[in-house]
Structure formats: structure tokens, C-alpha cells
């Protein structure tokens, strides 16, 4: 029976992985199609642009995945990114702080805002949709007040900091490497640590999670803190990438992020999906956008296609879930009720 389990476990894993594999294949298909149309699409700088462009959304998507998996949502990530980018830029401009501290401050500020989101959601039990929507506007308002016309310009950003935005290693942008490392680390943690699995449990069946003794409030709180911290990191990377920040930085990112996460196979009602899928979702949406630019299509199509893809992803997940459920159910009678010697002992 152990052998049987060993045989069946990878099969299941492959089903689960298929969702991410599907997204990856789609990325390649779009890439190949665009390359056929315009051979420049496959050259190094274009690919670098693809990766760089997807990086920020993928990074925010990692945090968003942590939150959505628990059946919550974080709408404040775009605002947090904007605020952190400006605050760090402003500190560089006026205080001349060391380059590394720019990252630390951005992450800390983002985490603090995430902590407020998490506290209100878990302690006051306000739906996170409302809490983070309010936070979106509050942070955006604070950001506008801080900026009030004095935008950060490239000359004010230390060149060592800006280098993070354009340097490459073996042709791969630093930015993409940083995000890939974050994605890999979080993916591993989500898979291999109890607290990671508990996030899925909370989203899959909140009541059962409580009965299983899972500290749901603490876990959800930490998911929000992580999402805020990653949005803060995103802010620092935004500053490094563009070296210029006004009060419009990050506007609308939250919807792009959620779109990427859902397209990447994260169930919007929690319980399933991976950060790898979310990152691939971001890459797919960005590749489609760039491909449409390459074939000189109107940018309107990019958004329409993103929307259609979103619907397709949700429909596909639904279909897959039904099919899996049906398949498993029909296979049931076959593998149960073994004649077992251990069914010994007597009831009095």
C-alpha cells in the first residue's frame, strides 16, 4: 500500500502542477507568435524588458497570493508601492541615507501598513475588501499630500540605488533575479512549512481551520504584513527602476496584480493556487501586452485580452474542479473496502 501511495502522490502533484505548466506554455505560445510576427521580439533587450516589466506585478502578486489564499484580498498594494517609492526617494533627496537603508525603510513602511490592514481585518472582523479599499484611498491621499508637486527626479536618486533597476547578470536583470528569489523562497515556505499549509487550510474551510486549532487570526495577520512588506519592497524597486516618482506611482496596480494572480491559477475564494502560478500570470499578461505593442495593435486590445483571459482562467478552473471531482468520485468504489485482516476484534 505504501508503494501504491508512492505511485499516486506524484500523479496528484502533476495534476496540481499542470495549472502552472499551462500558464507557462501560454507564455511561450504568445512569445513564439509575437516572434514570428516581429523577429525583434526575441532579442535580448526585448526579453529583458519583458522580465523587468513583469517583475513588479509578480512581486506584488506573491504577497497578494498569500492574502487571497486565506479568502481575503489586499487592494492597497498599489498605493503602498507608490507611497513607499516616494518616501524612500524623498529620504534620498533630503537625508542622503545609505542605499541599503532605502530597501529596509520601504519594506518596514509597507509592513506597517499591512499590519494595520491585518489588525482591522482579524481583530475587528471587517471584511478585508472594505479595509484594504479604505487603505487604498488613505495611503493614496497621504501620498498626494507628501508629494504635493515636488516629484523625485533621476538626479536625486543615488546611482548605486538606481543600478538595481538596470544592471544585469548574464543578461538577466537584477530586478527579475530579486523577484525570482522572493518567489522561490515564498513558494518553498508555502509548500513545506506548517504555517504555509495553514494559510491554505484557512482559505479552504475557515470553520474547519478553527476546529483544527489553527490560529487563523495570527496567520491572516501575517499574510497581510507580508503583502504590505512586499508592496513596500516593490516601491523601492519601482524607484530604482524608474528613478522618478510622482503621486501617480502604482495607481491601478492592485487590479493588475489581482488579474495576474487569478490568471496564474490562484482561486479567488481562497484555498488553492501558488505564488509560482501568480508570477507566471504576471509574466503572461505582460508578454501579451508587449506582444500587442510589437504587432502594433492598439493598447485597448491589451486590456480587453487581459479581461478575457481572466474570465477564461476562472472558467477553466471551475471546469477543472468539476472534472476532477467527478473523476475522483467515479473512481471511488474501485479503491475502497479492501478485505482487511485487521477488521478483527468484536463489538460486544
Amino acid at each position: 500500500m505504501t508503494a501504491r501511495a508512492a505511485l499516486t502522490a506524484p500523479r496528484l502533484a502533476s495534476i496540481l502542477r499542470a495549472r502552472e505548466a499551462g500558464t507557462a506554455v501560454l507564455v511561450l505560445v504568445v512569445f513564439a507568435a509575437a516572434t514570428l510576427k516581429d523577429h525583434n521580439f526575441a532579442n535580448a533587450s526585448s526579453v529583458q524588458q519583458l522580465l523587468t516589466g513583469a517583475s513588479l506585478i509578480a512581486l506584488l502578486g506573491v504577497g497578494e497570493t498569500l492574502v487571497i489564499v486565506t479568502r481575503n484580498v489586499d487592494l492597497s498594494v498599489g498605493s503602498v508601492l507608490g507611497l513607499c517609492a516616494f518616501v524612500v526617494g524623498n529620504l534620498f533627496r533630503h537625508q542622503h541615507i545609505p542605499v541599503w537603508s532605502g530597501f529596509v525603510i520601504a519594506v518596514a513602511l509597507g509592513a506597517a501598513i499591512g499590519a494595520v490592514n491585518g489588525l482591522i481585518t482579524t481583530v475587528a472582523r471587517v471584511p478585508s475588501l472594505v479595509v484594504t479599499l479604505a487603505m487604498l484611498y488613505i495611503v493614496r491621499g497621504v501620498d498626494a499630500k507628501l508629494v504635493s508637486g515636488s516629484i523625485v527626479v533621476p538626479s536625486q536618486v543615488p546611482s548605486a540605488f538606481a543600478a538595481v533597476g538596470y544592471r544585469t547578470v548574464l543578461g538577466i536583470p537584477w530586478l527579475a533575479i530579486i523577484v525570482a528569489v522572493v518567489v522561490a523562497a515564498v513558494a518553498y515556505a508555502m509548500r513545506s512549512f506548517r504555517s504555509g499549509r495553514e494559510l491554505y487550510a484557512i482559505g479552504s474551510n475557515p470553520e474547519a481551520a478553527t476546529l483544527a486549532g489553527i490560529p487563523s487570526g495570527r496567520r491572516v495577520f501575517m499574510a497581510f504584513v507580508a503583502s504590505g512588506a512586499l508592496a513596500g519592497l516593490g516601491g523601492a524597486l519601482f524607484l530604482a527602476l524608474f528613478a522618478q516618482v510622482d503621486n501617480s506611482a502604482g495607481i491601478g496596480y492592485e487590479l493588475n496584480v489581482i488579474a495576474a494572480v487569478v490568471v496564474g491559477g490562484v482561486a479567488i475564494f481562497g484555498g488553492s493556487g501558488t505564488v509560482v502560478g501568480a508570477a507566471l500570470g504576471a509574466l503572461l499578461l505582460n508578454t501579451i501586452q508587449q506582444a500587442l505593442v510589437a504587432v502594433r495593435s492598439s493598447s485597448f486590445w491589451s486590456e480587453a485580452i487581459a479581461g478575457a483571459l481572466l474570465l477564461a482562467a476562472i472558467a477553466f478552473d471551475r471546469w477543472l474542479a468539476l472534472r476532477v471531482a467527478r473523476g475522483l468520485r467515479s473512481a471511488e468504489g474501485a479503491h475502497r473496502d479492501l478485505p482487511v485482516a485487521s477488521a478483527r476484534g468484536s463489538s460486544p
Binding site: 499516486t8 513545506s192 470553520e207 482561486a267 471531482a325 475522483l328 482487511v340 477488521a343
Partner: protein
């Protein structure tokens, strides 16, 4: 101490494949103390005939626990002692407080009063986690699984086996799950997701979860409701194996034969109170039922003699193609007529066609001499027909609305004054009917979702009776209602008939049909098979007619 260890080991080996996997004495938190006692009581222990229990006192005892939700006292005196190596049955009607007691043991509810004692130490559970840590495992009535996660993860959530750096050891987790399933005699794939498991398999996973906890106290709240006989037998075997290991098992079931088959002692509860605890072999079914409902069984139906008045409902040659044909009958004032028959015989369909929910393809329906139009429930309602459907949650009640709103819902037109509905009028109406129907509730405006099934049924009844109908059609009036409230519903129907209401009742329960109805119409495959008077009907005659063996011979 060593001896005991050896003995345990020996037993485990001798049990062979049925030995409970992972039975590692070293992991058991209370092992030290247990062994100290074990040596002291070695003689008793040997006598205990293979039961690993070392203690003689209860592992867990709950004394006079109380729990109220608002004004509803779900539990007034919950008391129970669970001994090692013993299966303890807990029985009582719906609403007797069993599930509340279970949730207190599981740390889901904190009792308002009373003591919980484990190993002679008073304890309080802050939450489900601390109950689990104290060695109490609960299998709840409704499976509580994570559909997106694998079966093995469902079993070990929150306490997955880990290797270096506290990383989850999936291999070990799956192996342990397989071992537990082997012990249960099933071969579920530990890697498959829980989504799509049949209810019985979900229950198996729940049982596996409880087993993996190595619990000292295992509470099972109606675990057999969804299981087949084979699975129930298997569960009993597991229970027996657990008892040999010294686990205390609390087994809750509505099936009294199961309680007798598997339990050594039985506790009976009624109305949130402890009634009695006795050894199972000193009890019989009658005693148990009497203790559960607090009165004799014979007193369940009492029938007021009413001389039927004028014809209220007259149905002639009613037909709905492919469903039922040529149905004719009449219901008089003060008369209760039952529509009996097997499920699928067309009883509910006839009632729906009379009320106008479904269109009839032929025949006529007259109420108090006036024809009812085809397919218009609103016309039937206006003419004085009330219809209480079987599925009250879906069709009879707005669960989130208050008792008063629900009762008034069908009478809004009558309560209207100058185009406005006054809350006070609604409340007055609701309170009147709540009193007449002996509804047990906290506040008249609390949501009906908070009521028990029986009391919900009373609210539906009140809603329709508030319209003072001439004809009441009621589909399965007591389905899913506990024994005590059933009798009340029967009394209400009897009282209505005495007040001159014509009642058409659909029921699958023969005792109910025999006890309540004046006349019984039996349908078989969409046709009228027989009609009986109360005086000369027996259960046997109804069953023969319903199964098509005696068509028309009694008409």
C-alpha cells in the same frame, strides 16, 4: 513500570495488523503518571482483560455544565463521566443538548457554569487547540475537511510530521496516513484532494484524523449517519480496538440498536439536562425512549372526536399527465385526511396541483363549492388554502428574518394600514401564534435560523395559520423533528381540526398516519390505490395498498 511497557509492547505485537499504528508510548504526554498508577493497580489491570487502562477513575468528567445562547438554554445540566476502555453512549432527542455538550468537550464553546475535570484536575479549554492538547478528539456530525488539500494534509493539519528546520515531511505524512487507513481497512489515496470524497469517505478521513491524534478521549457525534452497514461494523471494530488501548469513547447516535451494540454504558439527556446514566445491559429500548421523551409512548397521539362538517375541498378526476391520474377525494371541515404512499407515488404532486403550484391537465378542484383556477397559488391562497411545504428551510421560511417577520409574511395584506406595515401589529400576530403553538424562542424578533427544526416547523405553521385558512395542506409535518416536538405538532393538527379546519396531510410515517388521520388515501404509482377509515385501518393494509398488492379492494 518496565513490566507494563513490556506488556503494552507484547499486546501490540500480538494484535498484529489491527494494532493501532503509531502507538508509541513515549509520545504520550501523560505516560509517566499513568505508569506509576499502572504498577499500583497491576492486579486490577490483569483482571481488566486486555484493557490497557491503568486508571480506575474517569479520564474525563463534566459536571453540571451549562450553556445559554441569549435566552435559549441549550444546556442546563450537562454531566458525564468517561472511563478508560469504555464506550459510552449518549442519547436524547434533537435539541436535548448533546451537540452543545460535545462542543464544550471540544473546546468550541466555553461553558457558562460547571466543571470539566481531566485526570482529577479541573481544566478550562480556551479553544479547540487546547482540548486537543488535553487528548480529546472530536468527530463532528458534519465533516470538517479542507476540500483543496490532500487527504493526508487533512488528517495532519497543524501537526504535520516535520524533519530538519521544521519542514514538513510529506513522505512520512503519507505513510502514516496509509497506515491509519490500513488499520481502518480502507485504501484511500493519501495524496488525493479531499474535494470529491463521498460523505462516507469524508467520515473515514475524520476518523483517521481522530485516530492520528492518539486521543485518550474520542467523541463521535453521530458518525454513522452517512455510513453503510459495512462501514458501521468497521467503525465498531475500531472502537473496540481503541477501548482495548484504554481510550474512552463517547458515542452519540440516534440509532439505539447501535448504541446497544457498541456501548457499555449509556447516558440519556432531555431538554438540556442529564437524566440518567446506566449500564447498557440494564436498559431496554422502551426505557430509553421513555427517559428521552419523558413520557409513555402511548401518549403520543391523542385524537379529538370531531363530527365532520360541510365539504371544504372537493377534488374530481384530477390528472397531471405522466405523474398521476384520476384522483378524486373530498376533505370536510374538522377532518384530517392523510395522503399515504411510497416516496414517488405522487402524493406531493397531487397536493401541489391542488394548490396550483403545478398545472393540472384534467379534472377540477372546488373549495367550499367554488372552483379553484388552474395553476394559480395566489388564487388558492385568497380562497383560503394554506400550503406548508416539506422543505421548510428552502420553501417555508426566510431563515435570516425574525420569527415575527416570518409569521406575518403571509398576512401582510391583512396587517396593512394605509399602505404601511406596523411592526407592532406584526409582533402582536406573531406572539399570539407563538403562544398558541407553544413555540420555544428567545426573542420574537430573533432570526428563525436560531431555532431548532421543530420550532421552525411551528413558525411555518404559525405563518399559514395566521391567515385562518379553511384548508391546510401540510407535507411531511414532522420530518426532521424530534420526538417531543412531533407530539406537539400532532396536537396542533388535532386542535385545528377540532376548530373546524380541513387538513390534508402528506406523511411517510405510518404511526403518524394511523394516529392522526380520520381518513387515509393511499396512492400507488400515481393512482388512488385505496381509501380507509380510521376505524378499520392497519399499518399492514396501508403497506399492501401502497405497494400495489391490494388495489381497490378496500375502497
Amino acid at each position: 513500570m518496565t513490566l507494563v511497557m513490556l506488556e503494552r509492547l507484547g499486546r501490540r505485537v500480538s494484535e498484529g495488523p489491527s494494532g493501532l499504528a503509531g502507538d508509541q508510548a513515549g509520545e504520550d504526554g501523560g505516560v509517566g503518571a499513568e505508569h506509576a498508577q499502572a504498577t499500583r493497580t497491576a492486579a486490577e489491570h490483569a483482571q481488566a482483560n486486555g484493557i490497557a487502562a491503568a486508571r480506575t477513575g474517569p479520564i474525563l468528567s463534566l459536571r453540571q455544565a451549562a450553556k445559554a445562547f441569549g435566552a435559549v438554554h441549550a444546556l442546563v445540566d450537562g454531566s458525564i463521566d468517561l472511563y478508560p476502555g469504555e464506550a459510552h453512549g449518549l442519547v436524547g432527542e434533537n435539541g436535548a443538548g448533546k451537540s452543545t455538550l460535545v462542543k464544550i468537550l471540544g473546546g468550541v464553546y466555553q461553558p457558562d457554569a460547571g466543571d470539566l475535570v481531566i485526570d482529577d484536575e479541573p481544566v478550562t479549554f480556551a479553544g479547540p487547540g487546547s482540548a486537543r492538547a488535553a487528548g480529546v478528539a472530536i468527530i463532528y456530525q458534519e465533516p470538517t475537511l479542507f476540500p483543496d488539500l490532500s487527504v493526508a494534509e487533512n488528517i495532519f493539519m497543524g501537526r504535520q510530521p516535520v524533519r530538519a528546520a521544521r519542514r514538513i515531511d510529506r513522505g512520512a505524512m503519507n505513510r502514516e496516513a496509509v497506515a491509519i487507513f490500513a488499520q481502518l481497512g480502507v485504501a484511500l489515496d493519501p495524496g488525493r484532494p479531499a474535494r470529491g470524497l463521498s460523505v462516507a469517505d469524508q467520515q473515514i478521513v475524520e476518523i483517521a484524523k481522530a485516530l492520528s491524534l492518539e486521543a485518550r478521549v474520542l467523541v463521535m457525534d453521530e458518525p454513522t449517519a452517512a455510513l453503510t452497514n459495512v462501514e458501521v461494523d468497521r467503525l465498531f471494530n475500531v472502537m473496540a480496538a481503541l477501548r482495548r488501548r484504554g481510550t474512552a469513547v463517547l458515542f452519540i447516535s440516534h440509532r439505539l440498536d447501535e448504541v446497544f451494540a457498541s456501548c457499555q454504558r449509556v447516558t440519556i439527556m432531555r431538554d438540556g439536562r442529564f437524566v440518567l446514566t446506566a449500564p447498557a445491559d440494564e436498559l431496554d429500548v422502551d426505557t430509553m425512549i421513555r427517559a428521552m421523551i419523558g413520557r409513555e409512548l402511548g401518549a403520543m397521539f391523542h385524537k379529538t372526536e370531531v363530527t365532520p362538517g360541510e365539504v371544504v375541498l372537493n377534488v374530481e378526476h384530477l390528472e397531471r399527465e405522466n405523474v398521476f391520474y384520476d384522483i378524486s377525494f373530498a376533505v370536510r371541515r374538522g377532518e384530517i385526511v392523510a395522503l399515504a404512499g411510497l416516496v414517488g407515488a405522487g402524493r406531493t404532486e397531487v397536493a401541489r396541483a391542488v394548490f396550483g403550484i403545478d398545472r393540472r391537465t384534467a379534472g377540477s378542484v372546488h373549495l367550499l363549492g367554488k372552483p379553484l383556477p388552474n395553476g394559480q397559488p395566489s388564487a388558492a391562497m385568497a380562497a383560503g388554502v394554506a400550503f406548508v411545504p416539506e422543505d421548510r428551510r428552502q420553501q417555508g421560511l426566510v431563515m435570516d428574518m425574525g420569527i415575527d417577520d416570518n409569521v406575518a409574511l403571509a398576512s401582510l395584506a391583512r396587517l396593512r394600514k394605509g399602505g404601511l406595515i406596523f411592526r407592532s401589529a406584526e409582533r402582536k400576530l406573531a406572539v399570539t401564534w407563538a403562544k398558541r403553538l407553544q413555540l420555544r424562542y428567545g426573542w420574537i424578533h430573533s432570526a428563525v435560523a436560531t431555532l431548532s427544526g421543530g420550532n421552525q416547523q411551528k413558525v411555518v405553521l404559525g405563518k399559514w395559520l395566521a391567515r385562518q385558512p379553511a384548508l391546510l395542506i401540510i407535507d411531511e409535518p414532522t420530518r426532521g423533528i424530534d420526538v417531543g416536538t412531533k407530539a406537539e405538532v400532532h396536537r396542533i393538527l388535532d386542535g385545528l381540526a377540532a376548530d373546524g379546519v380541513a387538513v390534508l396531510m402528506i406523511s411517510s410515517e405510518l404511526p403518524e398516519v394511523l394516529g392522526v388521520a380520520d381518513r387515509i388515501l393511499v396512492l400507488h404509482e400515481g393512482r388512488m390505490a385505496a381509501e380507509f377509515d380510521r376505524a378499520d385501518v392497519t399499518a399492514d393494509k396501508i403497506m399492501r395498498a401502497a405497494t400495489g398488492q391490494a388495489v381497490k379492494d378496500a375502497a
